[in-house]
């Protein structure tokens, strides 16, 4: 749910009127009444809502919601603004649809990563939830317990968790797995992340680079040649196959995710091991991943959840609503949208305007 009741006052204070589709908040645990109490008008149907509203706020809009997103297109009106995850880089065709409709569309995933936009950064907030939930999912499927337990009925060894990609979701996954008592290792291409990984208590898996080579060029440059990739795979294979849980988070927004865990590696894993691939939406970091399906290979379970935040709807909505509200407040003056395309945040997130696709990276 893109707005939660507690956010409404900040919007109404600046003069905005808030319309809520009936029962929209139900799944996340927010009753219509809660919205109404905070001054929202409950609108019976989606069509009616689209007819009345000037700004439409969604979680997953066109593009990002391949199933139902296109159903909204006929409802849109010229001059209307749309805010939400729109996946303009992955599905630029929908951006063009929106432009044709004359809609001003803001893709929240394009939010620039500048300090003052941190409170609007929905990718980060949703990745936080994903990282946490990925660990729960893995723990739920693993036929073993996470923590070390020395009991009268023998010693249960701790689960070994390997996190690939230590961005927002990855770090959160590391921290959550550590909390549950797992032994955690992590890997990321950006070596700067090592310190961050260690700061949440995991071991960083380092690739043994050839010293001679790395003295001439930068470490990254050396990383390009074929022998590097081979050695990288070797190291990763070793770590992956000795892990009980592998969580991959190396998503590159709008691009296909790099394959880090090959089918071969999966086959080398212990029966009962679990792979959670958070990059599933864009093909996955694991060769065997199929989005939103449970794949089993040799007793290894591969999960490719594409929308984990939706499984923690209450808190995910709360965070998203906070992001969107901050964004709307940034865009609005005196209760109306006032677009200033000199502003970095506005410029970077605006995909279409006045019938055109205006974003550099989408055009």
């Amino acid at each position: 749910m893109a707005l939660v009741p507690s956010m409404l006052p900040s919007l109404t204070k600046v003069g905005a009127e808030v319309l809520i589709e009936r029962s929209a908040g139900e799944r996340a645990g927010f009753a219509d009444k809660a919205y109404a109490d905070k001054g929202a008008t409950i609108v019976a149907s989606r069509a009616e809502l689209f007819a009345q509203a000037e700004v439409i706020v969604q979680v997953r809009g066109l593009g990002a919601n391949q199933d139902a997103g296109h159903l909204d297109i006929p409802l849109l009106r010229a001059g209307q603004a749309v805010v939400g995850f729109l996946d303009p880089l992955g599905s630029p065709e929908f951006a063009r649809d929106l432009a044709q409709k004359g809609v001003t569309a803001f893709a929240i995933e394009l939010m620039p990563r500048v300090a003052r936009a941190q409170s609007m950064d929905a990718l980060s907030s949703q990745a936080t939830i994903s990282g946490y939930k990925a660990v729960l999912l893995a723990a739920h499927h693993l036929p073993r317990v996470f923590p070390l337990m020395m009991t009268a009925a023998g010693t249960l060894s701790a689960a070994r968790v390997f996190v690939l990609g230590a961005g927002v979701a990855g770090l959160q996954a590391i921290a959550s797995a550590r909390r549950l008592g797992a032994v955690v290792e992590a890997y990321d291409v950006r070596p700067a992340v090592k310190e961050q990984v260690e700061s949440v208590g995991a071991r960083f898996v380092e690739l043994p680079l050839e010293t001679a080579a790395s003295e001439d060029k930068s470490g990254y440059a050396v990383g390009q040649d074929e022998s590097f990739y081979r050695r990288q795979r070797d190291v990763l294979t070793r770590v992956v196959t000795s892990s009980d849980v592998v969580i991959t988070t190396a998503a590159i927004p709008g691009k296909k995710s790099p394959v880090l865990v090959t089918r071969e590696m999966v086959e080398g894993m212990q029966r009962g091991s679990v792979v959670v691939d958070l990059a599933a939406e864009r093909g996955g970091n694991c060769e065997a991943t199929r989005p939103d399906e449970v794949v089993e290979i040799n007793g290894v379970i591969i999960l490719g959840p594409t929308n984990l935040p939706a499984t923690v709807p209450n808190h995910a909505s709360q965070m998203y609503a906070k992001n969107v509200t901050a964004f709307l407040l940034h865009l609005m003056k005196d209760g109306r949208l006032q677009l200033d395309s000199d502003d970095e945040i506005t410029r970077e997130t605006m995909v279409t305007r006045d019938g055109h696709v205006v974003h550099e990276r989408v055009k």
Partner: protein
Amino acid sequence: MTALVNVAYLVAAVLFILGLVGLSHPRTAPRGNLIGALGMLLAVVVTLLDRQVIEASTRGLLLIFSAIVVGGAIGAWLALKIRMTAMPQMVALLNGFGGGASVLVAGAALRDASTPSLQLTIATAASGLVGGITFWGSLVAFDKLQEFFLRGKPVHFPMQQTLNALLFIGALAFGVAIALDPTAGWAYWGLVALASVLGVTLTLPIGGADMPVAIALLNSYSGIAAAATGFVLSNNALIITGSLVGASGIILTRIMCRAMNRSLMNVLLGHGVGAGQVGASADAVYAGKVKSASAEEVAMVLGSARRVVIVPGYGMAVSQAQHAVRDLANLLESRGAAVEFGIHPVAGRMPGHMNVLLAEANVPYDKLKEQSEINSQFEQTDVALVIGANDVVNPLARTDPSSPIAGMPIMDVDKARTVIVMKRSLSPGFAGIPNPLFAADNTLMYFGDGKAAVLELIAALKEAG
């Protein structure tokens, strides 16, 4: 009578010792000072009963009284007028007068002695030498800190060490002359003159920051001068008190050097830290304005704080200091301070980073305050303790619209009475920009690796009792 006077001197000496013992603990220090003063009073009163004084004319007594009144008035005026921040130079000045008095007393005794023994002449020479150095050295030290003529910077000139050596040898030669011919008053004054120059040249190279050490050393000298004068007069009180002060001053000097991680030689020669070391990492924002504090100083500040807010950042995570930080918070609370944690929403490198760590360390959730909640409370906060945070406490976010963190809401730690920032260096954080907070008037930097530094601080707090 003399016996009684001497017993009284012994009592005075005991009072001095007890006074110093008192001064070495915060709780008993004020009483210790009083006991010392009492000892002095006793010594002075008893001296009035000395045969020599009693037999003197009324004029002599009047002179003594008037001199005491004049000196006492000046001393009191100086002591009460001076600003608290100028205390160190004040101590230097007072100390100088003590040294000067020794020079004069020894000189007078040399004149008065009918048949000066070797003990008397050698002691007189020692008193003149050390007293002279003390007097002028103290004046230079005073001036360096007060910045009348000289700035705090070390003054170096060529052949400094050679000159000092020559001066010293010359002074010794005069001393030998006195021993050989006790009537040679000129030799004594020649010795005092050389000692005076030596006092100046020895003190000039010492840097402003090292002055406290120099003053402690000069203080020790003045004690030695008094002890020497005691041998001149065969006076127990002077000997005991002088050697007491002399020895304690030297120990104090050593302790202070160790606390500053300097060797005494470095200090005396004016080498070492000074501008150089700070300069390397400082830039326009920090130049000369950063105040660095030791664990003990930080402990002192925290020791008297009633409301402390701890603001942790990425540095706490890197050094995994969370358990130590929790211990610190508990310790402060056990001493009656209210301690809370101010958690900035993007402190660290992942959402909830601080929460994970502090939960691991069992810091109760209700001690964690959100930024919006705590910000309004910094004005009522005695000490904001920033542990490995940087960007999230950078006031540039409020003031400099061109900075990469412009517009980010920050923790308003600068509104607290005192800010203590604990990090390894002046290096920037994630955003890569300098932080004017570190150079603020009410900020003390406490440099060190997060965990180790916190542990040291805990130890210092416990030590201070």
